[in-house]
């Protein structure tokens, strides 16, 4: 049974369908939430996302993307509300940050910086919009079109944010290991 059918059945109270849909997607939503808002946000975002799905049935349009992108879209809305409430952070805050120039290339630095905590800290330190591009495209492996649909922006914007995010990420890891 495909995700669309599972979603429809779950919204009609089919527990088995919901369990399968939840099992399929909750982890990626949880990761997205924790990368964007911190470890304590994962459960809340997952719960709010799936509650919204259950309480507003019939809003998913297959023509506009996959069920996964629909769920990410809802999760993103929840995440942005949390970020705004917590920090007053706008999505585009910090986008003008330039990666510092350094003698060591990111490639060389990353070779020494394969430790998960360092990478997580570096990702967490990225501006929200860049972090989101990294999380969706590199960590959750969504394609550009899906990421653009989730982020509600053109594909070109996703590309440019991702490019700058990777550069910033590399720069931050260089600084961390100097």
């Amino acid at each position: 049974m495909d995700d669309h059918r599972l979603l429809e059945r779950a919204c009609r109270g089919d527990e088995d369908a919901f369990t399968r849909l939840f099992g399929e997607h909750q982890r990626s939503i949880h990761r997205y939430a924790t990368r964007m808002c911190g470890a304590d946000a994962g459960d809340d975002v997952v719960q709010d996302t799936f509650l919204a799905v259950l309480r507003q049935p019939g809003r998913y349009d297959p023509a506009r993307g996959s069920v996964a992108s629909y769920l990410f879209g809802i999760a993103r809305h929840v995440i942005l509300k949390r970020l705004a409430a917590r920090y007053g952070t706008a999505m585009t805050d910090g986008l003008d940050v330039d990666p510092p120039a350094g003698g060591e290339t990111p490639l060389e630095t990353m070779a020494r910086a394969q430790d998960v905590d360092s990478v997580r800290a570096a990702v967490d330190a990225l501006p929200v919009a860049y972090r989101e591009a990294i999380v969706l495209c590199d960590l959750e492996e969504q394609d550009y079109a899906t990421a653009a649909a989730i982020m509600k922006c053109p594909i070109g914007t996703v590309r440019s944010r991702l490019h700058r995010a990777r550069a910033l990420l590399g720069a931050r890891l260089i600084c961390k290991h100097l």
Partner: protein, 153 residues
């Protein structure tokens, strides 16, 4: 097509994506959501039961009168009993007080004795009302041509 990353960065992000410490939402979240799904199912069941009840009531309200109309037995108004006039008997001239009618079955030939035609259908007996006085003496008789039936189909 995705923009390629340099391999070390890709490896670092891959290690983060595959972080085994991230096991997803806690069981409490799933339990909370399952409870929500069950509430939806319960609500839908109640809605269905209500819908079926309304539908059943509607069907009954429509079908019952139709069924009653279709199955109602045609009723024929009870026919009036036809009788002959009273014919005086031997002591018909004797004054009477507090007389009463006694219905009895008499031979069909009794009608002929009063100049009446024989009963239809070749019956051997006919019903007759005999006027009996307080003194027990019969004064007159009349014959019932078509005895009343309670209900005819």
């Amino acid at each position: 097509m995705q923009t390629p990353m340099n391999d070390p960065l890709a490896g670092a992000l891959r290690s983060l994506a595959d972080d085994p410490a991230d096991r997803g939402a806690s069981p409490a979240v799933e339990a909370r959501l399952i409870a929500e799904v069950r509430a939806i199912a319960r609500s839908r069941r109640i809605t269905h039961i209500k819908s079926y009840s309304y539908a059943a009531t509607l069907v009954i309200l429509v079908a019952l009168p139709v069924w009653q109309l279709m199955t109602r037995e045609p009723r024929v108004a009870a026919t009036e009993e036809l009788t002959t006039e009273f014919f005086p008997l031997r002591y018909g001239h004797v004054p009477i007080s507090n007389g009463h009618l006694v219905r009895m079955e008499v031979p069909e030939s009794a009608m002929e004795s009063f100049g009446l035609p024989p009963a239809a259908g070749g019956a051997t007996t006919v019903m007759a009302d005999v006027l009996v006085g307080e003194d027990g003496v019969a004064r007159a008789v009349r014959f019932v041509v078509n005895p009343r039936e309670e209900t005819q189909r």
